[in-house]
């Protein structure tokens, strides 16, 4: 069974290799090859899952060492895998959703002549993401971590001829690099602390290490998570990442990659449990981000950007939960999975809408699309209900638990966090309803574009709708499935451990509060976008709206401080290098030249002056000999 894990990663990797080096002859068959290999790894995942269910809770963890990777002195990095319930969950999510989205892309990208490469990149992403979750030590995890970064770079910038896309890709990679810096420092700290960075020893030895070091490790891991999962303050890349093709946004920037941060924190739970300070930092980041994302989501008119904001905020929930420690891990992952379903579904829906509206993204130019694309409408609607946490749908269960856990933190801290989570739920309801209304309800608002061809909305082909339907099912039932007699909790508990928090108020009260907030949010949205028609051109809006449209000015801050500052720094450095460092040398050279120029005057070409020097020389010689004799 163990060697299947390797295959799990190898299959999509092979696909990537074949598709990227295959050359033009694969242009037609390429998409199907990619999809097939994704399906293969999904099949493998299922097989492993079945095998895992076969065994009892404790020995479900599979660890295997393929080969010794970098053995230098005391530094032993192996290519080894660890597959336990936690990673299994991810593997299933990744391969499952991944396969569906491959399928979807077959239809979505069929008119793009570079689609072979697109699928190559998708497979590359799958491989890297799988490596990330099945890695047996932090260094290998780091490999996957950067691998997904690369894949997302390639995919965001897939339409490279668009400068905006290229820039967005670069931005994403750079911001992620900052996070990766955190991860690598964390790994170094582990090495100096434990002499290794394999999961087993590190997590077991966590107790013995000094809290100071653990806090440092925790903060560094948090930094990494922030980068990958688009959490404040490293969230700025996610919005621009929407430049990529929609399937990419669905797979990478909604369902899987962005949740890697949650995985990292949950995986390193033992470290965080021993470092309360780090945990506080984590929950703070989570709470801030979930509000931040939600607020941004409310203001965006670009449907994908709105969804991106929502992604941010949902991941904020997960991080918050993960920061709560054993109380929250399970629910973090649970929300992650359900979110994987409905957010992927929502993005695919959005993609389908754009597909039908020839790539129009401005929701103010949609309206009343439910007539034109029923399937999309239904699936999108279900996803919508799921995300706002409509009772009975998956979002309801997972999110509700998180809010409870937040309250359960206890003390003012608990109240603040819980309040934030609750508020977040309300805002979620508001902006999702807004998206829903602006897109599918109201009267049609699109008109012919510059070169006069009006979009004529139509339903998308089967390859696109089928995955949407499947994902819709997931977003409806997954939550319930997990929730009934705590299946999911029992499944994960051996790995993450679990502690029942006792909220200051009863669970029912929390749920009720959530419902109230939810209704308020929906009602408010209806009042603003349902009752009266939506203006095609965005109104100026309040200062908050304007700020939110600009990602709460966070981008401007980056631009002014980092980009401008950096440019000035490099320019001045170039100048310094040229004038100062090089100038010193050239100055020396020049002075030597001048000196020799003067010396040259002695060679005036007059035999007589040469004779003088000879004569003087002779005199000196005599003097020398006399002195020699004298002494």
């Amino acid at each position: 069974m163990e060697n299947l894990i390797g295959l799990l990663v190898a299959a999509p990797l092979l696909g990537a290799a074949v598709l990227l080096c295959g050359g033009r002859r694969l242009d037609r068959s390429g998409p199907w090859v990619g999809t097939l290999l994704a399906a293969v790894s999904f099949a493998l995942a299922v097989a492993l899952f079945a095998d895992m269910l076969g065994r009892s809770g404790e020995e479900r963890t599979l660890t295997t060492t393929v080969f010794s990777w970098v053995p230098v002195g005391g530094f032993r990095a192996d290519v080894g895998f660890q597959l336990d319930q936690l990673s299994m969950t991810f593997v299933l999510l990744i391969t499952g959703v991944g396969t569906l989205i491959h399928l979807y892309s077959v239809g979505y990208m069929e008119h793009d002549e570079r689609r072979r490469r697109f699928f190559g990149y998708l497979n590359l992403f799958l491989a890297a993401m799988l490596l990330l979750v099945v890695a047996g030590n932090y260094l290998l995890l780091y490999v996957g971590w950067e691998g997904v970064g690369l894949a997302s770079y390639l995919l965001i910038g897939f339409w490279q001829h668009k400068p905006s896309a290229a820039t967005a890709a670069k931005k994403a990679f750079l911001v992620n690099r900052v996070g990766d810096m955190g991860l690598s420092i964390a790994i170094m700290l582990m090495f100096t602390t434990f002499g290794t960075f394999a999961f087993g020893p590190v997590l077991e030895g966590a107790g013995q290490a000094g809290e100071g070091k653990l806090t440092a490790v925790g903060l560094m891991l948090l930094l990494a998570a922030c980068g990958k999962s688009a959490q404040v303050p490293l969230q700025s890349w996610l919005g621009d990442a929407m430049e990529g093709p929609t399937p990419v946004s669905a797979l990478i920037h909604a369902a899987t990659m962005v949740t890697a941060g949650v995985y990292l924190i949950t995986r390193s739970g033992a470290l965080f449990d021993a470092a309360p300070t780090a945990q506080t930092a984590v929950v703070t980041v989570g709470a801030v981000t979930l509000l931040f994302g939600a607020i941004v989501g409310c203001a965006k008119d670009d449907i994908k950007k709105a969804l991106a904001g929502s992604t941010m905020s949902q991941i904020g929930y997960m991080i918050l939960a993960a920061g709560l420690g054993p109380v929250g891990y399970v629910f973090a992952i649970m929300h992650l999975v359900t979110h994987g379903f409905f957010k992927a579904g929502l993005f695919l829906g959005a993609g389908s809408v754009m597909h039908g509206m020839n790539d129009e993204v401005d929701m103010r130019r949609y309206g009343g699309l439910r007539k034109y694309m029923p399937v999309t409408f239904v699936t999108f609607g279900l996803g919508y209900l799921a995300i706002i946490g409509f009772p009975g749908l998956s979002g309801f269960f997972s999110k509700d638990k998180i809010i409870e856990a937040a309250f359960a933190k206890g003390g003012t801290e608990g109240w603040i966090l819980g309040g934030a989570a609750l508020l977040g739920a309300g805002i979620t309801a508001f902006y999702m309803t807004r998206v829903m209304l602006m897109t599918f309800f109201g009267e049609r608002r699109w008109q012919p574009d510059a070169d006069g061809n009006a979009p004529h909305p139509h339903e998308s082909p089967k390859t696109m709708t089928v995955p949407m339907v499947i994902l819709a099912f997931g977003s409806v039932f997954a939550g319930g499935l997990f929730a009934v007699n705590d299946t999911f909790l029992k499944w994960l508990e051996p790995v993450t451990g679990h502690a029942h928090g006792n909220p200051p108020v009863s669970a029912l009260t929390v749920t009720a509060a959530t419902m109230v907030v939810l209704v308020l949010g929906v009602a408010l949205a209806w009042a603003r976008y349902g009752r009266k028609p939506v203006p095609v051109t965005a109104p100026r809006g309040s200062w908050l709206t304007r700020a939110a449209r600009r990602d709460l000015l966070q981008d401007d801050f980056n631009h002014i401080v980092l980009v401008r500052g950096g440019e000035h720094l490099t320019r001045s450095l170039v100048y310094v290098d040229h004038t100062l460092v090089d100038g010193v040398v050239n100055g020396t050279a020049a002075s030597v030249g001048g000196l020799s120029g003067r010396m040259r005057r002695l060679q005036n070409g007059y035999a007589r002056s040469y004779a003088v020097s000879m004569f003087g020389g002779a005199a000196v010689l005599i003097a020398a000999t006399l002195l020699m004799r004298a002494v």
Binding site: L20, F67, S68, W69, V70, P71, V72, G73, G74, F75, R76, D78, V79, G80, G136, V143, W145, E146, G147, L150, Y153, G157, Q160, H161, P163, A166, T167, A169, L174, R177, V178, D180, M181, S184, I185, I187, M188, F191, T192, T193, F194, G195, T196, A198, G200, P201, V202, E204, G205, Q208, G210, K213, G566, L569, T570, R571, V574, D577, V581, V585
Partner: protein, 537 residues
């Protein structure tokens, strides 16, 4: 006595150089094939070395050869390789064929140049490359300080002519201007390295004087001196040892190059043709860092430890400074040059971190940096040869017209920013870990270099390869077979060494251990030691 393998490895390219130079002017192609043949022969010999080398052998050096040379000054013709040298020799022998192949047309008569600039001595170009190879190889092999110094310096002569004699097509600039720039770069290269070399010579003589004074008979033999120090027959006064150390280190720091002695590199790499630039940064400069490991640390361990803080600081400056300047460059080749300065900072940092990971990583870094820079620079060279301009601003949207070129360029770039899965990542991480475990602050500062690396690589890629297609780029041909034959193996190697560097680390490890024992340093112990069994899990 057995077959003198080391001598052969150095002699073959030297003979090749002579033979190539002797080819009559009319038969240009013949000269090229001859050069390629000899470089491949050298590669075979280097491979034999790698096979015959036994990592677990007792002594520090293997395949040794030793003959009296200049008796009166105790100069011996002493060759020998340790794990570090043998790997670097392999790298050199591996890169030269690619350099020859990549420079196939770099010395042909210039089309479209005015008559007095058209002719270029093709035979000379390839002969010089082989000559450089021979000298580099022997300076990797020499265990006699004098012998090493001889070739360390002699290397400058062919390099000087390679830089000053052959450059890119003038492009927008006039031939006169290009020629002027070239000779400026060549002279700068020569002067910098000569200055370093002369100071080193003083130190070499000083070393001889000290040994002659204390051992009765002066010697240059590394092993002998190390041995004498070990059993206390030779003991240097701190002041003397430090000054000697500085003398050696200065020369190597110029060669490496370390901030602030770096400014010759961008000029040289900018003006020389891409293959020659690769020769400079991937092959010749390695001698400098290698010599730090072999001579500075082993001859003057105390002084090395004494100087470590300063050198680490300089290395950090190089890392960050080089990266920042790379970001600020407008010229592709100069950008790569500054990137190399940053990387050399990493290598020096690893060497002077005085940890197994640091030094092992540094050695591995030399190899990987050689390969990755070769990949990036050669592709850049192909790009430049197509457009006839080195300015980043002249390119754009290349990936649209030449996807393969763009792809290989990206891979080279990703290797330069040390993406996991490609070879440089392993070495860079080792260096970082090694540094961090001794100087955490330095480790963290160096990590900033990672981010900056991503910045300059991606900016370069974005500006040249993506976006709308520029006029000069339109209709640019994709990589030709010859060019692909150069790039593909390099990329394959990058991938392989990224996934499975064990073969190299196994050879390097014992040598590094030996060096560490010379310096009497051992790795810092972790706070919470976890037993190996668990670690292996």
């Amino acid at each position: 006595m057995s077959f003198p393998l080391l001598t052969a490895t150095a002699v073959v390219p030297a003979v090749g150089a002579v033979a190539t130079a002797a080819v009559p002017a009319a038969r240009r192609a013949a000269a090229k094939w001859l050069a390629l043949g000899f470089s491949l022969a050298t590669l075979v010999l280097a491979a034999v070395q790698l096979v015959r080398f036994d990592p677990d052998a007792a002594g520090p050096f293997q395949l040794t050869e030793s003959h009296a040379w200049i008796k009166d000054f105790g100069v011996r013709y002493e060759l020998g390789v340790d794990g570090i040298a043998v790997v670097l020799i392999a790298l050199t022998a591996l890169l030269i064929p690619f350099i020859v192949l990549a420079g196939w047309h770099d010395a042909d008569p210039l089309e479209g140049a005015s008559p007095n600039w058209r002719w270029r001595p093709t035979q000379g170009f390839f002969a010089l490359i082989l000559m450089v190879e021979a000298m580099v190889v022997i300076s990797f092999e020499a265990t006699d300080v004098f012998l090493f110094y001889l070739f360390f310096e002699a290397m400058l002569i062919p390099m000087y002519f390679l830089i000053g004699g052959f450059g890119d097509r003038a492009g927008e600039r006039s031939e006169e201007e290009t020629a002027a720039q070239r000779s400026y770069a060549a002279v700068k290269f020569l002067l910098y390295n000569l200055a370093g070399g002369l100071i080193m010579m003083a130190a070499v003589i000083g070393l001889y004087a000290v040994t002659a004074d204390q051992l009765g008979m002066g010697t240059f033999s590394l092993q002998e001196i190390v041995q004498a120090r070990a059993d206390g027959r030779l003991d240097l006064a701190p002041a003397a040892e430090r000054s000697l150390f500085l003398g050696f280190f200065f020369a190597f720091a110029v060669k490496a190059p370390l901030w602030p002695l770096h400014t010759w590199l961008p000029n040289a790499m900018g003006e020389a043709t891409a293959p020659v630039a690769v020769l400079i940064t991937a092959v010749v400069d390695k001698v400098g860092t290698f010599a730090m490991l072999r001579f500075c640390l082993q001859l003057f361990p105390e002084a090395s430890k004494w100087a470590t803080p300063v050198i680490v600081a300089l290395a950090l400056v190089s890392i960050v400074y080089g990266a920042l300047l790379a970001v600020g460059q407008r010229d592709i080749k100069r950008l790569v040059a500054y990137a190399s300065i940053s990387h050399f900072g990493f290598i020096v940092l690893g060497i002077f971190a005085m940890t197994t990971q640091g030094q092992g990583g540094a050695t591995l870094y030399m190899v990987n940096h050689g390969i990755s820079t070769a990949a990036l620079m050669l592709v850049a060279g192909f790009l430049i040869s197509r457009r006839g301009s080195r300015l980043i601003a002249d390119y754009g949207g290349v990936q649209k017209v030449a996807p393969v070129l763009a792809g290989t360029f990206l891979v080279g770039g990703l290797a330069t920013l040390s993406l996991p899965g490609l070879a440089p990542f392993v070495s860079e991480f080792l260096v970082l870990v090694g540094t961090f475990s001794r100087y955490p602050a330095a480790g963290i500062i160096a990590t900033v270099g990672i981010v900056l690396a991503a910045l300059y690589v991606l900016v370069l890629y974005q500006r040249t390869m993506t976006g709308p297609v520029k006029d000069g780029v339109r209709g640019m041909p994709d990589l030709r077979v010859r060019e692909l034959a150069v790039v593909a193996p390099l990329i394959a190697l990058l991938l392989f060494l990224g996934v499975y560097p064990k073969p190299l680390t196994e050879i390097i490890d014992p040598a590094v251990g030996h060096t560490m024992s010379q310096v009497e340093k051992s790795d810092p112990k972790p706070d919470v030691p976890v037993n190996e069994a668990e670690a292996a899990k």
